[in-house]
């Protein structure tokens, strides 16, 4: 069994779960007994931090009781996240836990990193003599942000199905893997009515914040464009970018080219991208300017529906009636405007 502080720092571990099972309170005790009030407060704090800062935050782990409260706050936070119900919030929270782990992993030993990889079903090979880490390409494909050129396999070494990665790279890959895992778990769980009743005021507060955020996003026209007229494909890509998902290059490319055709400036486009978890201003700016033609001689055009479909960016199950009539996302948008004008 690992040390208590490790369990507290990495509460998603199997060992932590085991620890709670063996030494922890029952669900009822956790929810209602006064000694666990602190764990309940930290649980909500995790959620608040995840929403606001994309990181569930650190607290002092000096005493044993600090550690125990921290450990117990994790299942509580998850239960409440499930009851809040909003898929965007679940993603946000999963990202908050995963980014928190990432930051801590940067300071851990390689052998610790490897043990976390194992726990997250990421297959790695470690060569002690050469101190090299290699990762199985499937795990890499699934979790590395390959939308950035330096992460593309073509710009890395691969042999026999394994790619060499640095300590930091591996931590980044584990971030994505943990994010996916937590999100998947949250999506499949059901809200416990006792949890809902106990935390109902917090749950409502979160729901209210999310609703106002949502409204604000819909109401603020992005530059001069109106969000509700975007075709399904663009809505999806935009939402995915904003909630910090790994959107493939082609998706980002299409969105930028699309927005730029609607006369959005680089600054306006950047603002849309700035909520992504690994948002890097200079890099994104460079990419955007390249596509919009501000820094290159060509101004790229958004691909048509057919090409979007071959690249898997057209969400076929979300296509509506208008989609069936048009052949380019831009005509979708223009058609929406026309439809509105025709309305009495």
């Amino acid at each position: 069994m690992r040390e208590l502080t490790i369990l507290a720092k990495y509460p998603f571990l199997q060992d932590t779960r085991q620890f709670i099972k063996e030494n922890g309170p029952s669900i009822d005790e956790l929810l209602y007994n006064p000694p666990y009030e602190r764990a309940r407060i930290i649980g909500i704090e995790r959620l608040d931090n995840a929403l606001k800062h994309r990181d569930v935050g650190s607290r002092s782990l000096a005493s044993e009781s600090d550690c125990i409260m921290e450990i117990l706050s994790y299942p509580l936070a998850r239960m409440v996240a499930v009851c809040i119900g909003d898929p965007y919030f679940k993603k946000r929270y999963a990202l908050g836990e995963a980014s928190h782990m990432y930051k801590q992993l940067l300071n851990e030993s390689t052998s610790f990193l490897l043990s976390i990889a194992k726990e997250l079903d990421v297959t790695v090979q470690y060569n002690t003599e050469k101190n090299t880490i290699k990762i199985f390409f499937k795990n890499y494909l699934r979790n590395a942000p390959t939308r950035y050129k330096e992460w593309k396999i073509v710009n890395r070494g691969i042999r026999n199905g394994f790619l060499s990665v640095s300590h930091k790279d591996l931590a980044r890959i584990l971030l994505e893997s943990l994010r996916k895992r937590i999100n998947k778990e949250l999506v499949t769980r059901k809200c416990d009515s006792n949890v809902y009743d106990l935390f109902s005021s917090d749950i409502k507060r979160f729901q209210y914040t999310l609703a106002t955020q949502q409204k604000k996003m819909e109401a603020t026209p992005v530059g001069k464009i109106s969000v509700e007229k975007l075709p399904p494909c663009m809505t999806e890509v935009l939402a995915a970018i904003q909630s910090g998902e790994n959107v493939p290059h082609m998706g980002r490319f299409s969105l930028v080219a699309f927005l730029s055709s609607l006369k959005l400036s680089t600054a306006e486009i950047l603002k849309l991208f700035s909520t992504a978890p690994d948002y890097q201003e200079d890099k994104t700016k460079y990419q955007v300017e390249h596509i919009t033609g501000a820094s290159s001689s060509t101004e790229y055009k958004c691909p048509g529906c057919e090409k979007m479909r071959t690249y898997g960016i057209c969400p076929v199950d979300k296509m509506d009636d208008l989609c069936k009539k048009i052949r380019h996302p831009l005509s979708y948008y223009n058609n929406k405007w026309k439809q509105e004008k025709q309305k009495p």
């Binding site: 499937k138 494909l141 073509v154 710009n155 026999n160 082609m250 071959t310 898997g312 199950d317």
Partner: protein, 396 residues
Amino acid sequence: MRTGNSVQKSLEFLKNTFQTYYASNKVKLPERFGRREFAFVLFGGKGMVRHLGFDKSELLQEFLSERGAQHAYYSSAYYQYPTAPKMVEKNWLGAELIFDLDSDHLPNAEQMGYVESLLAVKKEFIKLIDDFLLGDFGFKEKYMELYFSGGRGYHCHVKDPAILDLDSNERREIVDYITGRDLQDSLIFHEQATGRKRYGGHSFTSGKSLKMPTPDQDGWKGRISRGIIDLVYEIKKSDNPQKRLEEYGVSVRDAERLVAELSEERMRRIQDGMLDQSKTIRKFFLNSALRKTAVALTAGETDEPVTCDVKRLIRLPSSLHGKTGLKVVKINIDELKEFNPLRDAVVLPEDPVRIALQKSVNIQMNNQHFHLENSDQEVPSYLAVFLIGRKQAILL
């Protein structure tokens, strides 16, 4: 003269030959065939019949021999409901990784004849199999099935359980790797200081040299390095190195300089990873090495994803190709180099048939030479089907 009637007759002949073939030759079914979608182009039919499913192999066999399908396909994906008419309703469960190399995708395919273009595709195919799939990605031989497409190319089906659930973006990343797309030259070449000088207590770098990767490095670094070394030797060994370079598109001036500079000593330095050349020459080396070592999977500009479509249809192994009558035969990896489609994929009978040729034909098929004038000829059925299918002849 030839009327629409003989065109009709030719089609009937193809159909009958295919029907007879399927009546006595079993088609090998893909794994999980009950979960696959099947699709066919029928002789004389319009378009493709899709969304069919077969839960017994006899039913498929029956379909083929009764309808005499001109082209037979199945989905590389397997679904919960393979016969649902809408793609979304099928519920995708997974798909093999398919590589489809067709001579249409080669840069200068139009100028090549059938045999020549197939040889060129095979070269690309061998590169794909040996260097990339077995080498870099480390797929096991037991998970790889190689096929001649029956037409103008080769297919590889990768069945490794690890890749069945890859989505199309993940597949795209594999294709980008194999085609060398987005390779960044700054990651390949970098400058390195060769010496230091000291002035008044400060040290400065003096002289820079361009470092390129060494041949033993992983992935593209090693590949580019090996490509450049091969290229240098190829140029050096040729009778007229300068002309050779100009053929590669290097300007006369640069070619002159490069040839002058390619001393034995220089060549050794290149092998050790030192490429001290001007920017244009460096670019030339990179691009040529890239072209030489990447797999030409896509047709120049069009860039259609080859492998990324997780729902694509693929020619059914051991069926007949409707434009050639050749069989989609499985090839063992160690027999790939020797594989000759016009010998190893010929399965139709010898029975003589009379055809009218549009132009003279010179072809070696089934170990026989045929020199045929453009007149009426009697040829074995397999050749008749091949020529009629390729619209070079009609039935008499």
